[in-house]
């Protein structure tokens, strides 16, 4: 192996599994340490810098960080990162003084954002402090986009959403409610310096089966949730069938439970391992008495004289990988309402096809993955409107990248000139065997989120179900974090090959051995390095024997014992801080 290039921020970044997995690269270990110190406001601001909506995401994030968390590979359950984020948001103090200052003198550039969802709001958040004038066009009379219309209030209280959106709008954003954009051509004629499309994926997929249009008791999931959010719907029949098993289906079934549904079934075509819903959302739905029925494919709606009686399903038997199925028989399930939650798609009937905004497959605009720019310079896409439904945290990241592009575009800098990521490495050594972080491994199990009692839960639609971690739970959960950002930094020229680090490592991640190619090396380390997703660190040749130090990053618990037992300080524990560029954080020379 060639020596690992630790000058490249990507190497150490990848070691911080949660941060690497987060689309917005939130500095998770740092904010968890801040929570541990009781510095909730600082923890909140660390979050806000990258993910903009910590209070919202602390309740609703898809948590790509948690399956990636190293703790999951150690004891089977990752750190409850998402819910710790909520702790910071719930307990923070006043942050008014910590928000960026908005210059009184504007830079003369005007940016239009379509839709007031997380992507557009992030664009505004990044550009307002730079002196831009940002105009957001929103079709509803409230901001938030899908965060408001599709996430039920019992998961995300409106007050939390309102507060975090207000932080951005109060920067002086010109938001125009009840202003759906009917024509992109007309908008472009208003001569904005840039246009950002963050209009989401607002069209729920329909299920064209016999009987679909013979009754008004079949609802499109996201439209139905939106109607609840705006108070247009407040009841549903007792027997409800939900078609589809994604996270929207979970919100639909749990909302039904609160609006009068007593016998609620979520109908899935495939077996459980192939569900799209997050495991924790499935768990929460089942806790509320929702039944999840697998291997049933919808066949037709049974409607008599305009009254929905139920649905027919084919019962399926799947092969091993659930690729091919065989129909066993057809069964009837009675119901009063059906909610379709089988996916969403984008719809751009308002973008004229002669504006130079090219579309590709499925009528989706062609958008550059790095710059978020469409084929028409100055028009950018982000969030679900770019490549179809993803999630809030991806929308935020799209917003950040689009803001960089817009800033470039407005200053005649190619949008492909992306400011580079940087890093800081600071030793954590405070003295002999003394570190500025808590380096001991804590064997606590993952803390369980407490929920409102089932007897209380359904009394009010907007009653938040999750209570949040209490002080004891928080104290335990923060100590489960392995501080993966405190990196083991190695200086080969200092090593005397005494083996002390290898002998002390509790998880056998170190080996001194003759060099070889990576594949072969992985099999002859202190413990075989079978997790190919995790990199090996390889040092320069060691001074005494010419062998190399190999570290398998897979299950390192960052306890720092290697550095404590090193007589020559060849190992050091250094805190890695990823310097993430945002719009305006690099001063281009041409400016």
């Amino acid at each position: 192996m060639d020596p690992t290039n630790v000058q490249d921020p990507n190497y150490y970044h990848r070691v911080v599994d949660c941060q690497w997995a987060c689309p917005a690269h939130t500095n998770v270990p740092e904010y968890i340490r801040l929570i541990a110190q009781g510095r909730y406001t600082d923890a909140y601001m660390t979050n806000r810098e990258s993910n903009v909506f910590p209070g919202v995401l602390g309740r609703t994030c898809d948590r790509p960080c948690e399956p990636a968390c190293r703790r999951g590979r150690i004891d089977g359950s990752p750190v409850a990162i998402c819910r710790l984020k909520r702790v910071a948001a719930d307990l923070r103090g006043d942050i008014t003084e910590l928000l960026p200052r908005i210059p009184a003198a504007k830079n003369g550039k005007r940016v239009a954002c379509i839709g007031a969802g997380p992507a557009s709001l992030t664009v505004a958040n990044d550009l307002m402090p730079l002196g831009y004038e940002v105009v957001i066009f929103e079709k509803h009379d409230k901001p938030g986009g899908l965060m408001r219309t599709n996430i039920p209030a019992f998961r995300l209280p409106a007050s939390v959403l309102d507060e975090e959106i207000a932080m951005i709008l109060d920067m002086g954003v010109d938001i125009r409610y009840d202003s759906p954009i009917e024509s992109m051509g007309a908008l472009l004629a208003e001569k904005f310096d840039a246009v950002f499309v963050g209009s989401g994926a607002p069209r729920g997929k329909d299920l064209e089966l016999p009987g679909r249009h013979d009754t008004d008791r079949i609802h499109i999931g996201i439209d139905w949730l939106e109607s609840i959010a705006f108070g247009h719907v407040d009841s549903i029949g007792e027997r409800v069938l939900i078609i589809g098993v994604g996270n929207t289906a979970m919100d639909c079934c749990r909302s039904s439970r609160r609006l009068g549904g007593t016998e609620i079934k979520v109908m899935a075509r495939r077996p459980r391992p192939y569900f799209k819903a997050s495991p924790w959302e499935l768990e929460d739905a089942e806790e509320e008495g929702v039944e999840i029925v697998i291997n049933h494919a919808p066949k037709r709606f049974v409607v008599e004289d305009g009254t929905l009686l139920g649905m027919e399903f084919e019962r399926l038997e799947w092969d091993q990988d659930a690729r091919h199925s065989r129909t066993i028989d057809t069964i009837f399930m009675p119901c009063d309402d059906v909610i379709l939650a089988i996916g969403q798609e984008n719809a751009f009937p308002w973008i004229e096809r002669d504006l130079g905004i090219e579309v590709g497959k499925w009528d989706m605009p062609i958008v550059d993955e790095a710059t978020m720019q469409s084929t028409r310079p100055g028009v950018f896409f982000g969030g679900d409107s770019a490549w179809g439904p993803k999630n809030i945290i991806w929308a935020v990241e799209h917003g950040h990248q689009a803001a960089i592009s817009i800033d470039n575009h407005c200053h005649q800098i190619p949008v492909t000139d992306r400011p580079p990521q940087g890093m800081n490495l600071v030793t954590q050594k405070m003295g002999i065997s003394e570190w500025s972080y808590h380096n001991d491994y804590n064997p606590s199990p993952r803390q369980r989120m407490q929920h409102v009692d089932l007897t209380e839960r359904f009394k009010r639609l907007e009653l938040e179900v999750e209570l949040g971690f209490d002080a004891e739970q928080t104290a335990r959960e923060v100590q489960r974090c392995l501080n993966c950002d405190i990196q083991t930094a190695f200086t080969a020229s200092l090593c005397i090959e005494c083996d002390a680090c290898i002998d002390i490592c509790p998880v056998q991640c170190l080996t001194i051995t003759p060099n070889g190619d990576e594949h072969e090396l992985r099999q002859r380390l202190s413990a075989p390095a079978d997790n190919l997703d995790q990199p090996l660190f390889a040092s320069e040749a060691l001074p005494q024997t010419g062998r190399v130090m190999i570290k398998d990053e897979d299950v390192c618990v960052h306890c720092g014992l290697c550095a404590e037992r090193c007589p020559t300080a060849a190992w050091d524990m250094e805190k890695f801080e990823l310097k993430i560029p945002y719009a305006g954080s690099v001063m281009w020379s041409s400016r």
Partner: protein
């Protein structure tokens, strides 16, 4: 002293031995030795060897005297018996323990001060009696616990940390052992576990006194330029004369090994063992030739390592002294203390 004890968390793929124990189960307390001490590596090698041999921890007796080396017994096999003796008296304790219970594996850990200065007489007699034990000398050439004075194993010309050369003749425990009839003599280096672990396994299974002299650098007082017991000096002057591994007793396999190079021989458990021929100019069963070889290479400044001499034919301490097959602790009281009449009859024999 590290800030924390070694976390109990382990690698998910950690293997288990025949007793369903992991290598972590053979660890002991946290070391309070200096960071980078060779002794800690010897401990780690011992942990590995005992795990590989699947020795039940409660069938091990750890013995030591005084010195940095003698602290080592606390750092492995937490479930074993232990005895920390007066300075230099560990071989005598081990001899007595041997007589009382032949079922335990005795692991004695000593240093160049404990064994070659104050305890030299006891060591010599334990060798003569062929006491069944693994006797490790963690040899660093200095008195580390008293801040780095030359010990009895310091080479002529080796310089102290302050620069003064040693002028007094050293005692080489390997030559000493060979000269008074040791039946298993090896030398190894703490910085080379590939060599050390198999030697320790073989030594633990030797029927008799197994002397293993391990060059174990003192990282604080004797790891500088001019020292002949530093990591760098030992690496630059190491001459591995034999390749050692331990193959557990099993039905005989006959094979031919070429005079140079090696042969891969399949074992009963399916593993392949690489057998190297002993060099043509080296015979580890010829005591005089080995001593001659060692002297010649010592004069050239070389540190000869490997399993240097072995003789399994000599009677061990139990055969020589007709000791009890049953550990005294397990003998019924009537046999252990047969009463006044029996004493009378015994004394009658001497009248």
């Amino acid at each position: 002293m590290p800030s924390i004890t070694k976390p109990k968390v382990t690698h998910p793929g950690l293997r288990k031995n025949e007793l369903e124990l992991t290598v972590r189960d053979y660890e002991g307390a946290m070391s309070t030795l200096c960071a980078g001490c060779g002794h800690d590596s010897v401990t780690a090698a011992l942990v590995q060897a005992l795990w590989e041999l699947s020795v039940p921890p409660h069938m091990i007796a750890k013995l030591s005297g005084i010195g940095c080396s003698s602290k080592t017994t606390a750092y492995f096999a937490a479930g074993a018996h232990g005895f920390n003796s007066v300075h230099g008296r560990m071989p005598a304790i081990a001899t007595g323990a041997n007589a009382a219970n032949r079922d335990l594996l005795y692991v004695g850990i000593s240093g160049d001060g404990d064994s070659l200065s104050i305890g030299l007489g006891h060591l010599s007699h334990a060798i003569r009696r062929n006491v069944r034990m693994l006797y490790i000398i963690e040899n660093n050439g200095v008195y580390g616990l008293t801040k780095g004075q030359f010990s009895a194993s310091a080479d002529i010309g080796s310089r102290s940390k302050r620069g003064e050369p040693n002028t007094v003749m050293p005692i080489d425990p390997v030559m000493l052992g060979l000269s008074i009839g040791a039946t298993f003599v090896a030398r190894a280096f703490s910085g080379d576990k590939q060599q050390l672990v198999p030697i320790l396994k073989a030594a633990a299974r030797h029927r008799g006194f197994a002397l293993v002299d391990v060059t174990s650098p003192c990282v604080t007082f004797n790891d500088h330029e001019g020292s002949t017991k530093s990591y760098l000096y030992t690496r630059e002057h190491d001459l591995k004369v034999t390749s050692t591994d331990f193959v557990p007793p099993a039905p005989e396999i006959l094979a031919t090994i070429p005079p140079t190079g090696h042969a891969l021989i399949p074992m009963h458990d399916g593993s392949l063992v690489r057998f190297h021929a002993v060099p043509p100019d080296y015979d580890p069963t010829n005591r005089v030739a080995v001593m001659d070889y060692l002297q010649q290479h010592h004069d050239r400044g070389e540190v000869v390592t490997g399993l240097l001499y072995v003789d399994e034919s000599v009677e061990d301490v139990h055969e020589l002294n007709n000791t009890s097959h049953i550990p005294l602790a397990q003998l019924p009281y009537e046999r252990l203390c047969p009463g006044a009449d029996a004493l009378e009859r015994l004394q009658e024999r001497f009248r």
